[in-house]
Symmetry: C2
């Protein structure tokens, strides 16, 4: 029966679809002038790899709904380009040092150049969506542009919430605040838009406003929590960023929110004092202490439980909203990828 | 005869068309959540004013080519929103302190928040262009999106060149390097795109690839040089930025390029030494000395001559490429605005 196979085929699908997206994306990343401070840097993050989860979700959804893979390729490329554009601006905004195992663009070339490179990448993503017109016709191409505009709006709103928390040193957040924030910051561009875009391309008809939004939320939230967990418990040899970097940054993760809520009064006072410092004021031992505090109060195990519950909810929701989609390896991928995200290291 | 009236009616047209654009733009800038770190800030620069030159060029061109003003309103709004988005990112990239007489968004709220606000504004501009579909039909709306994408591509390429010059402390630039850079950085979004978009909306037909590009270059270059001159010789009470701020920043203006080329050997050595310092290393007396150096070597008068020559070339080009456009007050505005930009204080 389809659906009971284990998730070990997921990486193969990611590799194969990811490879095809890379080939198509290369057209948008051709070397051209001005190279030194722009186009060489535009292709830097895409060249460093990445799992290609988001474009693969789009391609698999499109095929599951009956499209040819080529029908969804420009949209998949746009998703990956916009994702990389966000990474470039995120790294500037977070003053991050490392991305995919190498120094960030802002660390290598300064924030001014990196902001401009991110802008160029946003419009390369737009270029790929405009190129949909020829193959898909203007109405569908325009619909995809509208969906993409909404997706980015949600993303920048979520990003502003998170930046605001850090700027205000927010310390009274609840799990529901966190879930609301990642719904916007992560889920729209990671899962909701890729699935909705694929469905639009496959079905060639309008979609209800909320279709696949709940599914994308559950799956995307499980993904984001796992991503935040990897920052703490990932394998340093495989993880492309600084381990415990989120703690140093003061990032409001589910684990930090949990530990702030459950710490003893003494621990909480010290946590608040450490969080009130600027990033550079949290030294290695401070970061280690916060990390141990999370262990002591079960914050990591708690976040793992929530991620698994969300993945379960996503699979349940999948079985409802994909009930009308005939069995196929792409449909199977979309169901299996939810569990797979929790096995990533 | 149309064309011989003086340019005193230009500010009235800017006020009236500008007022209408502000009304239409308000729909895109409505207060909504999240306010504090996003939408209140998105409307900050637009609320501070601005001449509304770019959207007025678009509206006047559309009307001169036979459209109703309402046909071009969304595009005019998009132009102003994208312009303001660029200002937000420019201020981050240049670490500027003042914009339109008040502290910059980065000075008030930090660069991370400002980068994200600029991203939101880019997509608000895109939203306005997507909204063209209903009134103008999909083919024309899509054509305008394609033109906008090219416009932004040129802009970020020009911006990368200028950022690169500063980062590399470029000291061997020529006038032609400068003109090439501002063709991309300024002219596409200030003059070429507004005029081309207006013509597309008015004529409802395709445009040759190069149509109005030369006109827009001459007019836009005159505008940019005048803008750079105002930074040196503007009235501090009216000028919204720091006088001589470009010198402090080390911005490669036509005046700086001229003085580097014409200074005595001693002056040149000192200039190079001052430019090699970081921005904070150029104190008030250093800035004043560079400014005096420009006076001594006639760099300001030289740039004024070039700006006037470019404005003359623009008017000459106008008479050729607008020869088929029937007389109207909008056509007259487009011709008169070229000279008017040189009278701004």
């Amino acid at each position: 029966m389809i659906g009971v196979r284990d998730a070990s085929f997921v990486p193969h699908v990611l590799d194969e679809y990811g490879r095809q997206v890379r080939v198509a994306m290369a057209d948008y990343l051709k070397p051209r002038e001005p190279r030194r401070h722009l186009y060489n840097l535009v292709s830097e993050y895409p060249r460093r790899g990445g799992r290609m989860l988001r474009p693969t979700l789009c391609l698999a959804a499109a095929r599951a709904f009956g499209a040819d893979i080529g029908d969804a390729m420009n949209t998949a490329v746009a998703i990956e380009l916009l994702h990389n554009a966000f990474l470039v601006h995120d790294d500037v905004e977070d003053e991050s040092d490392t991305r995919r195992g190498r120094p960030t663009l802002n660390a290598l070339h300064g924030s001014p150049v990196a902001v401009n490179v991110g802008d160029a990448m946003i419009f390369l993503g737009l270029r790929a969506l405009l190129d949909n017109g020829e193959r898909l016709g203007l109405p569908l191409a325009m619909q995809l542009l509208n969906e993409a505009e909404q997706m980015v709006r949600e993303t920048v709103e979520g990003q502003s919430t998170e930046l605001g928390w850090r700027r205000d040193n927010a310390t009274h957040l609840r799990e529901s605040d966190y879930l609301h924030m990642i719904m916007k910051k992560t889920c729209w561009y990671t899962t909701i838009f890729p699935i909705r875009a694929g469905a639009l391309i496959g079905r060639r008809s309008r979609l209800d406003r909320d279709r696949y939004v709940r599914f994308g939320f559950f799956a995307g939230a499980a993904f984001q929590i796992q991503d935040d967990l990897l920052n703490l418990i990932g394998d340093p040899a495989k993880y492309g960023k600084e381990i415990n970097g989120d703690i140093r940054e003061g990032k409001r993760t589910l684990m930090l929110i949990h530990v702030l809520e459950h710490a003893s009064s003494d621990d909480r006072s010290r946590l608040l004092e450490l969080l009130s410092r600027p990033r550079s004021g949290r030294a290695e031992p401070d970061v280690d202490w916060i990390r141990q505090c999370m262990d002591r109060h079960g914050s990591i195990a708690y976040a793992q439980r929530i991620a698994h519950a969300l993945a379960g909810a996503a699979q349940h929701e999948f079985d409802t909203v994909f009930a009308d989609v005939p069995p196929s390896s792409d449909r199977e991928f979309l169901r299996a990828v939810i569990r797979w995200v929790l096995t990533r290291t």
